[in-house]
């Protein structure tokens, strides 16, 4: 299938990008890596009037550690994250999750900003950002706006980003030596979207884990936290954690799995991710 016709402009600056978005409104779509948008265009599931290519805004492609904080530019490609030694040492949740994102050719081109703005409910990175308590930086005509990842993902392909804003960076803090992570995902084949996935972040405390964040992906229309299950896990009560999941998750059903199946798998992933985090903590 060939895409429907569209106009194209390659933005030379962020200011130009914002001006075009303001002028063209709904008919304009941003394209960065294009790994989510291009399939939709080729299948004629999307038909914008104008594609605004921000791929040349190389100033938005960076990984900047600063002590225990990390700032990643929105145009950073998945492969850049995969190759970052700093991230592998200080934020291995991301390194682990990126390895599950599609395939090398997609990772060479897809961007962090693109993945977060796309907000596919089965994607890894949105859930990781929530588990990391990340802050998403959106830039509009009025300047920067900081949105907690927890408030960013609103539904299927729906985020808190306004039509005239560009997602420009992600900020993560608290990446100290006490952090422990777990990550588990089940997909039919390597690189497929998850049937269910779990990003777990916690902090080592007194021989155990505290400040646990459990964020599931692939279960609902957006990444879904399970705070009750997290609290039970922090107490090392796996049974209570699994029981809490039943109350906190209302998984959808599709061709891959029924709701009951997703819930069951969520429980299995809970155990596996927890075991990883414990092992990392010891």
């Amino acid at each position: 299938m060939k895409a429907a016709a569209f106009d194209y402009v390659r933005a030379e600056s962020l200011a130009e990008t914002l001006r075009i978005l303001a002028e063209r409104g709904e008919g304009a779509r941003l394209i960065a890596g294009g790994q989510s948008l291009a399939p939709a265009l080729n299948l004629r599931l999307a038909a914008p009037d104008l594609l605004v290519d921000i791929g040349a805004l190389t100033q938005l492609r960076y990984i900047e550690p600063a002590g225990e904080a990390l700032r990643i530019g929105a145009l950073t490609r998945h492969v850049d994250i995969a190759r970052s030694e700093w991230i592998a040492r200080h934020c291995p949740l991301l390194t682990r999750a990126i390895a599950e994102v599609a395939h090398p050719a997609i990772r060479n081109r897809g961007t962090l900003g693109g993945s977060l703005a796309q907000a596919d409910p089965a994607a890894e990175l949105p859930a990781c950002m929530m588990a990391l308590d990340a802050v998403i930086v959106a830039t509009g005509a009025g300047g920067e706006r900081r949105i907690a990842a927890w408030d960013f993902f609103l539904g299927v392909y729906e985020t808190a980003l306004r039509a005239d804003e560009v997602l420009t960076a992600v900020e993560i803090d608290g990446l100290d030596a006490e952090r422990a992570y777990g990550f588990a995902e089940l997909s039919r084949r390597r690189g497929d979207f998850a049937i269910v996935g779990l990003a777990l972040a916690a902090r080592r405390r007194a021989g155990g884990l505290a400040e646990m964040r459990l964020v599931y992906f692939g279960v609902s229309d957006r990444p879904t936290a399970a705070p009750g299950a997290a609290a039970a896990l922090a107490r090392r009560d796996i049974e209570a954690a699994r029981a809490a999941l039943a109350a906190e998750l209302d998984p959808f059903a599709d061709a891959q799995a029924s709701s009951a199946m997703r819930l069951h798998l969520a429980g299995v992933l809970l155990e596996r991710a927890f075991a990883q985090a414990l092992e990392a903590a010891t």
Binding site: K2, I31, Q35, A38, N42, A105, R109, G191
Partner: protein, 157 residues
């Protein structure tokens, strides 16, 4: 729109409608038909090309996005001799049957071997999991890539 790019080392100037993806541009405008189309959803990997040195899906990049870029296709990396040993291993091992997935498979394999000197079979399988082959069942491809990796490591010693 007018696009300019360096394709297989040669400067190219041509017209491309914004909606024309890079794979179609290479095939139809430049006559470089070695890059194949298998799905246009970005899933099968038949359309893989190198864009500024990285393997990408040719169907998920529009030609206009590649304006100013360096593009290498299977024809280019064949003629340069860069993958001669990999191609020889594929021949020896019959790691291709119909040949349709082969250009994308070779590009992906070459990228793996450039990043990891001695990948084990599982690593090779993982890396090539984005390149669909219906003919071979993959075993022979893994053999050929593994053999090439070993030979390159030997040559380095």
């Amino acid at each position: 729109m007018r696009v300019r790019m360096i394709v297989n080392g040669e400067p190219v100037t041509a017209e491309a409608a914004p909606r024309q993806h890079l794979a179609d541009f290479l095939r139809e405008t430049l006559g470089l038909t070695g890059t194949h189309i298998g799905c246009e959803h970005g899933v099968c990997g038949a359309c893989c090309v190198r864009l500024d040195g990285a393997v990408v899906r040719g169907c998920l990049t529009y030609a206009v996005q590649a304006d100013g870029a360096r593009v290498e296709t299977i024809e280019g990396i064949s003629d340069s001799g860069e993958i001669a040993d990999l191609q020889a291993a594929f021949t020896e091992r019959n790691a291709l049957q119909c040949g349709y997935c082969t250009p994308g498979m070779l590009l992906s394999a070459q990228e793996l071997l450039s990043e990891i000197a001695a990948p084990d079979r599982e690593t090779i399988r993982n890396h090539l999991s984005g390149n669909y082959c219906r003919c071979t069942g993959y075993h022979a491809i893994i053999d050929a890539v593994e053999a090439t990796a070993r030979a390159r490591a030997e040559a380095k010693r």
